[in-house]
């Protein structure tokens, strides 16, 4: 059995005695006999470290790692600089609790303050919170921010990530808000339908830029339409794309949210990830969760604290706007380090390479018989259609160590290309697709 208890059996006995107990059982006299387990847990016997390592490594070994990945759909394979990994492994960042005691937590607080600043710059918004669980819950929290007693309908584009839609729906089930999809046309939100569907009950409209199909949406126009109806625009977005594309702020969004995973966070089979949320001056006090603010100490020196806590659950309890408590602080520190290492030019370059390579690959795939489904501009994802069954194409790619795009159905595939995909591997993938097509 492994253990992390320092005190030896002898010490434990002595301590029991000093505390006035005869035995461990005496500690639990308040627990009624009828609810006691009174048997050994049906778990494996505990293991020493080497055995644990062997068991876990064996499981890790049963997963297949693809060196070449053309799949995104909500989780993106980007390069993580060595410094970022190092920062995110620093023992104190990893093991500290939420910085309730600001005087011994300036390192985390300042990192988050820096993160908040960079999220504002990226989104073009005026204030950011300290993170929420992921992009999907960020969208759901943002929708909740916009609703009130009169406006209880949330519109969401049908072209958003279906995983995000699911979460929006679940949160609406809780809040009693109504979630209504705005149809998609040609791979983007149908603006005409959006205009029609907006009503005085509509709290907000949620759209993603780029959307699930990788398409660039006309968010600026949407903002106008939505605001005309007195509703809010919640703009979801890929943070890498934001380095290049018109920002939510510039488009007129009231709240900007997104999945922060592309900012230096490994794929990790889906988590931990990072939900970022930023808002305008008018809206930021409704942001859920932690926020770090600047202040000064008793000596007049600059310092940072968790602030605006009066919004939060531990003070407002059931009247709080959200219940969020633990967030994804370490992921936020990681994202901040990533943005600092990349810098503005590096992040723009990442975005440009994603864009350029995706367009290169799309053209090549087209010549191989996989035509693009939608017109219009796209960022680093796109959908193809083909007569060859999607699974045949993908299987063949897998045989060559390549994780192809996500099959949307038997004919359509959603591809993703990032700065990590080289021309060589794209050409190789195309060659394989051609093979499948030719056979």
């Amino acid at each position: 059995m492994g253990t992390y208890i320092p005190n030896t059996g002898n010490e434990q006995r002595e301590m029991l005695e000093e505390a006035g107990f005869q035995s461990f059982d005496d500690l639990y006299t308040e627990i009624p006999e009828c609810v006691r387990l009174n048997r050994k847990l049906d778990l494996p016997e505990g293991s020493p470290e080497l055995s644990v390592r062997r068991q876990v490594e064996a499981l890790a070994g049963r997963n297949r790692i693809f060196n070449y990945i053309f799949r995104g759909a909500g989780a993106y394979n980007h390069y993580i600089p060595a410094v970022v990994e190092e920062v995110a492994s620093k023992e104190r960042f990893v093991t500290a609790y939420t910085p309730y005691q600001a005087e011994i937590s300036q390192g985390i607080l300042q990192s988050i303050f820096e993160y908040q600043t960079m999220i504002c710059e990226l989104t073009g918004m005026e204030a950011s919170n300290a993170s929420v669980y992921d992009g999907a819950s960020a969208a759901a929290e943002a929708a909740a921010m916009c609703t009130d007693r009169k406006r209880k309908t949330v519109l969401a584009s049908a072209a958003i990530n279906p995983g995000v839609y699911q979460v929006l729906k679940t949160y609406c089930f809780g809040s009693g808000n109504r979630l209504v999809p705005v149809p998609e046309k040609n791979g983007v939100t149908d603006l005409k339908k959006l205009r029609e569907m907006l009503s005085a009950e509509c709290a907000c409209f949620y759209v993603e830029q780029p959307n699930y199909f990788g398409q660039v949406e006309d968010v600026e126009t949407m903002a106008d339409i939505v605001h005309e109806a007195g509703a809010k625009l919640v703009a979801g977005g890929n943070p890498i794309a934001m380095a290049l594309l018109r920002t939510p702020g510039e488009c007129g969004a009231d709240v900007a949210v997104g999945e922060g995973q592309p900012l230096g966070i490994p794929l990790s089979f889906g988590g931990p990830y990072l939900g970022f949320m930023a808002a305008t001056k008018e809206m930021f006090r409704r942001l859920p969760g932690r926020m770090v603010g600047e202040t000064s100490d008793a000596g007049g020196n600059r310092g940072y604290v968790l602030t605006l806590q009066a919004r939060e659950q531990h003070i407002r309890r059931e009247k709080a706007g959200s219940n969020i408590c633990s967030n994804e602080a370490l992921c936020a520190v990681r994202a901040a380090a990533y943005m600092a290492v990349m810098g503005e030019e590096g992040l723009r370059e990442t975005a440009r390479q994603c864009y350029s390579k995706a367009h290169y690959f799309q053209k090549k795939l087209k010549t191989a018989g996989l035509s693009r489904v939608y017109p219009g501009d796209f960022f680093h994802e796109f959908v193809t259609r083909s007569d060859i069954p999607s699974r045949m194409i993908l299987k063949k790619l897998e045989d060559h160590g390549i994780l192809g795009g996500l099959p949307l159905d038997e004919t359509r595939i959603l591809w993703c290309v990032t700065e990590l995909n080289t021309k060589e591997e794209m050409d190789e993938a195309v060659r394989i697709v051609e093979e499948v097509a030719g056979s």
């Binding site: 059995m1 253990t3 992390y4 208890i5 320092p6 029991l16 000093e18 505390a19 006035g20 500690l27 308040e30 609810v35 387990l37 050994k40 778990l43 293991s47 644990v52 499981l59 049963r62 297949r64 600089p81 410094v83 104190r92 960042f93 093991t95 005691q101 005087e103 011994i104 937590s105 300042q110 990192s111 820096e114 710059e121 979460v167 809780g174 660039v216 594309l245 018109r246 990790s268 889906g270 988590g271 770090v292 100490d297 008793a298 000596g299 602030t307 605006l308 939060e312 531990h314 309890r317 219940n323 969020i324 408590c325 994804e328 602080a329 810098g343 503005e344 370059e349 501009d377 021309k423």
Partner: protein, 476 residues
């Protein structure tokens, strides 16, 4: 110290990416305002974070008796396991047959946690405790809805509960009914009976409760709720005291959440990522969020969405790498180690309580579970030194203060949770340090108002921060 934005200068940078190897292209809808991010060399960035790390207090820096947070030691092997490329490099949408190891890990963790809690099913999607509560409450909602009992609109929460309980209930569309605690810190049964009715959707409770006591009427409490047609939700925040000793499932709870980042030794990351899996009894499994793991016909593992699932509360399957850490911990401790950890958590709390109550009033007498609540009310009345001052004074002793001003039902509360991974010496030293500080407070209260003086910054002005919020750096 300086902010990232106050360091470096335009033109400084790190060289990360090779040039683009395909023709460069650019989208049409470009941002108008130039992106502004730091301009720094690697030396500057790396040193910046080294310096920032020095201004953080982690579990390895010393005693961390932050009540209700279960700040136990975070084993290094767990970190190594979560960093394995076979986990960290997995795309969440890979075909099932390429991620059988990850799926088995989830299934086994699920099984172990069900056994520990007395539940029948489990889902890992919730990313934190509060997220788990919200999830559990939606399941209660879905349950009543399916039974056609839409009139069940109220969730009963004791006044000693974590703020997340009422907040989660509200988010799930419920009205919160607060029941007062009795003088013994436990649920007042009479008041509870008065509170239940046909509108009762359920109860949220943690047991041991937030004052560190095991509510011995627990079976009666859950029976009262069940009799009224409600469901019982167990907040797993305090499971560390009783794992392997008693199980929420056996106490009459229907749904629970766990905090893997507390009870199961995953680190807190300065506030997250956590992991708040939700478990339930068989009858409620159909409402779990999806996807959940399942065994396929061919014996392999896959994902499926439960029949009447409340839906997803997050993308994908939860904070997977945190679950890997908990899994490694479960393998390490095993059948005997789990209750041994609980017993020692309770022993350490009682040992320290015994030492402290020699000079400091406790909110509740008698045996505590894994944590206990001190009250500085006396001290404050006599000297003006409040719980906050004592906390700040402890900072100068190099230990992390207990949780302040919680639970709300105790005045000037300081809530202490030593955890099982602390040695007797550490507890002895902390008790002595606290005794000396308490003495100083009695003798020289003004001095304590000035604390801390040894920290990187002195006491920070929280009022100012909230009154005129500065939430970001502003470029000139």
């Amino acid at each position: 110290m300086k902010l990232l934005f106050e360091l470096g200068t335009s033109g400084r940078h790190c060289d990360i990416l090779p040039p683009c190897d395909v023709p460069e292209m650019s989208p049409e809808c470009l941002r108008k305002k130039e992106l502004r991010l730091p301009h720094l060399s690697e030396t500057e960035i790396s040193r910046h974070y080294t310096e920032l790390e020095k201004q953080v207090y982690g579990v390895n820096d010393g005693f961390y008796p932050l009540g209700s947070c279960t700040m136990k030691y975070n084993p290094k092997i767990n970190e190594a396991m979560a960093a394995l490329p076979g986990f960290a490099k997995l795309h969440p949408l890979q075909p099932d047959y390429t991620v059988q190891g990850a799926l088995e890990l989830l299934r086994r963790t699920e099984k172990y946690l069900c056994e520990i809690t007395g539940m029948d099913a489990m889902n890992f999607q919730p990313a934190a405790g509060a997220h788990g509560e919200f999830t559990g409450l939606l399941m209660i909602r879905a349950f009543h809805q399916k039974n056609g009992e839409k009139n069940r609109t109220k969730i009963i929460v004791p006044d000693s509960a974590h703020g997340t309980n009422p907040a989660s209930a509200a988010m799930a569309g419920y009205t919160v009914v607060s029941v007062p605690s009795g003088e013994d810190g436990c649920v007042d049964l009479e008041k509870l009976k008065e509170a239940v009715g046909e509108d009762t959707a359920g109860l949220m409770l943690t047991n041991p409760n937030t004052v560190g006591l095991f509510d011995k009427n627990i079976l009666e409490i859950t029976r009262i709720i069940h009799d009224a047609g409600g469901l019982c939700y167990y907040d797993g925040a305090n499971l560390n005291a009783v794992m392997g000793i008693t199980r929420p499932g056996d106490m009459g709870f229907d749904i629970i959440h766990l905090n893997l980042h507390k009870t199961f030794s995953a680190p807190h990351g300065g506030g997250g990522p956590g992991s708040g899996p939700v478990g339930c009894k068989k009858d409620l499994a159909e409402f779990l969020p999806g996807p959940v793991t399942e065994e396929k016909e061919d014996g392999s593992s896959g994902f499926a969405v439960p029949e009447s699932s409340i839906g997803a509360v997050r993308s994908f399957y939860g904070n997977f790498l945190v679950i890997v850490k908990a899994f490694a911990y479960l393998l390490t401790l095993g059948a005997d180690g789990i209750p041994e950890a609980a017993r020692n958590a309770v022993l350490n709390a009682n040992y320290l309580k015994k030492k402290l109550e020699e000079f400091c009033p406790m909110a509740y007498p008698g045996t505590c579970m894994h944590e206990f609540v001190m009250t500085m009310k006396d001290l404050k009345d006599r000297t003006g030194v409040a719980a906050l001052d004592i906390a700040k004074g402890l900072l100068d002793n190099g230990i992390h203060p207990p949780t302040m001003y919680f639970p709300l039902i105790v005045r000037e509360a300081l809530m202490v949770e030593p955890t099982e991974t602390e040695s007797r010496e550490t507890l002895d030293e902390a008790a002595e340090g606290f005794r000396a500080l308490y003495q100083r407070a009695l003798e020289n209260p003004d001095e304590i108002h000035e604390a801390p003086v040894k920290t990187p910054v002195r006491r920070l002005d929280e009022v100012r921060a909230a009154r005129k919020p500065v939430l970001r750096y502003f470029y000139d």
